[in-house]
């Protein structure tokens, strides 16, 4: 790959979402596809030009100038200019400003991106589509990358994005921050989508490790972007960032061993990223204000305890208490299973077995892994039959291999 090529790929990832946000903010979200086309076209021009003349000293600024020209040229040709821009000018707006102002200042880029986050993470759109749009518009991933992550194909993803953008139009979604009384609920939705985005990378079934990592990093970046605005720099925003840091710290170790229940114990902790753990702790400290505890606070504290490899009874008592609290706020099968695993580590297999049998999660392979583990000392034959059921339900190679290792240990 040539030098220009890698530079352009990196720039595309960094700048695509910024430029689309700025153009969409100026001309309206209904022109988001035009904005995407203009920005893609700008990168084509850059590729041609830079191959010939070399990469300019400040490539981002170069891209902004070209995008500005292309944008203004486009909208001058079209009806928008007639119907939207000119009336605004006549209504007394500064002509100079209306005509040429496409503001690529750092401040406007950030403001536009924040508005775009709220526009896309909108409960009017199906959450799967929100994630798809977020990956494309907020993170600048290519259609093939998104398709790979969803184990889908380009056509399906294109269709899904098209429908999502249509929804932006029909629901008349604007690039605005939600009104103050709705901000809390809307921020919850934004944080939820960022977390799903992170999980899409973290638990992705694609084999493409670099792509998985990129998804996680982009989710972190969006979280950090939210911290630059007072309205979105809330304790639970910091808690989510802390949680993502703690999870991401185990990224390398997971590649080799896997994350869940039994597999976790096989992780090589020397592969954990200490720097990310330290950063996570700083964000966790920032999250400790206000008087409401979000599920992100609880999950972050659990994840931090998992960053401590030593198995002390106190650690597992603490994890158990946190999972209890998490379940008080929000039930999920994985929280229920992890809670029961924590109960096992804290109070023993007998106590945990009684609770496990009440969970009614027969379709979940971790449920059978858990039952296998809980029976492993007292009834190996039963344990093996549980592991076999888990094996039949497991989806990834790593999970299946982990289960086979557990059977061998019996």
């Amino acid at each position: 790959m040539s030098q220009e090529r890698t530079t352009i790929d990196q720039l595309f990832q960094q700048e695509f979402s910024k430029m689309v946000a700025v153009i969409s903010r100026q001309f309206g979200l209904e022109h988001i596809e035009t904005a995407e086309d203009i920005v893609s076209d700008t990168f084509l021009t850059a590729a041609e030009n830079w191959a010939e003349k070399g990469v300019p000293e400040n490539p981002a600024a170069w891209l902004y100038v070209v995008a500005k020209h292309k944008t203004l040229a486009h909208f001058r040709r079209g009806d928008v200019w007639q119907q939207k821009v000119l009336p605004a000018v006549k209504a007394g707006m500064d002509t100079e400003e209306a005509e040429t102002d496409l503001d690529f200042s750092a401040q406007n880029i950030q403001d536009s991106q924040l508005r775009m986050i709220f526009a896309i993470c909108n409960p009017a759109i199906a959450s799967e589509s929100q994630i798809g749009l977020a990956l494309r518009i907020l993170c600048g991933f290519g259609i093939d990358e998104i398709a790979a992550a969803f184990l889908s194909n380009k056509e399906t993803i294109n269709k899904r994005l098209f429908r999502a953008k249509e929804k932006l139009r029909t629901e008349n979604i604007r690039m605005e921050l939600p009104p103050e009384h709705m901000l809390d609920a809307r921020l919850d939705n934004v944080l939820h989508i960022i977390y799903l985005l992170f999980n899409e990378g973290y638990y992705s079934r694609t084999q493409d490790v670099i792509l998985q990592k990129d998804f996680c990093l982009e989710a972190l970046r969006l979280g950090l972007l939210l911290t630059t605005f007072p309205v979105t720099a809330q304790p639970r925003t910091y808690a989510l960032i802390a949680l993502m840091c703690f999870h991401a710290s185990r990224f390398e170790a997971r590649q080799q061993a896997g994350e869940e229940i039994v597999l976790y114990e096989e992780q090589d902790e020397t592969l954990w990223d200490r720097e990310l753990i330290a950063q996570g702790m700083q964000f966790l400290a920032l999250s400790a204000s206000g008087n409401s505890i979000s599920s992100y606070h609880l999950e972050a504290r659990i994840a931090l305890l998992h960053c401590q490899k030593e198995d002390t009874p106190e650690k597992w008592q603490e994890i158990l208490a946190l999972y209890n609290e998490l379940l008080f706020i929000h039930y999920s099968p994985s929280a229920a299973l992890n809670r029961t695993f924590a109960l096992y580590k804290a109070d023993g297999a007998k106590a945990a077995l009684a609770e496990a049998e009440k969970l009614q999660l027969e379709d979940n392979h971790f449920y059978w892994v858990l039952l296998g583990e809980l029976n492993s000392k007292t009834d190996p034959a039963k344990a093996e039959s549980h592991y076999r059921r888990a094996y039949a339900l497991a989806q990834t190679v790593a999970e299946k291999e982990g289960i086979l290792r557990a059977i061998k240990r019996l």
Binding site: Q317, E325, L327, F328, Y331, L343
Partner: protein, 113 residues
């Protein structure tokens, strides 16, 4: 599924005078018991604990008194709402409640839907 309120009553709240370690053990009992219900996806709202002792009772005619709040032996100490198919199942879920270990009771009442 229907919703049922579980009302926890105890004759005394002397345990609050217990040494810290024993209080922590008791808290764990409650948390683990409620966590077990929550892990079955049956908790409809986070449990609520009432601070014993501190409170007032308002009666007709603007009469305000301190506790005891009602003329019964056991005082309300907390409540939660769970999901269950019927009253029988809700009662089964209420088994194991730590209040019972301390001579208290759980009142199970369907929430009007």
């Amino acid at each position: 599924m229907k919703e049922f309120a579980l009302l926890f009553r105890q004759p005394s709240y002397d345990h609050l005078e217990l040494p810290e370690a024993e209080q922590a053990a008791l808290l764990k009992k409650w948390q683990d018991w409620l966590g077990g219900i929550a892990a079955q996806g049956r908790l409809a709202m986070p449990p609520t604990r009432l601070i014993p002792g501190a409170g007032k009772v308002l009666k007709p005619g603007g009469v305000v008194t301190d506790g005891p709040f009602v003329e019964i032996r056991e005082r309300l100490g907390g409540l939660t709402v769970i999901r269950a198919e019927n009253l029988e199942e809700a009662t089964t879920l209420a088994h194991g409640c730590p209040a019972i270990d301390y001579g208290g009771s759980v009142e199970i009442r369907q929430v009007m839907g």
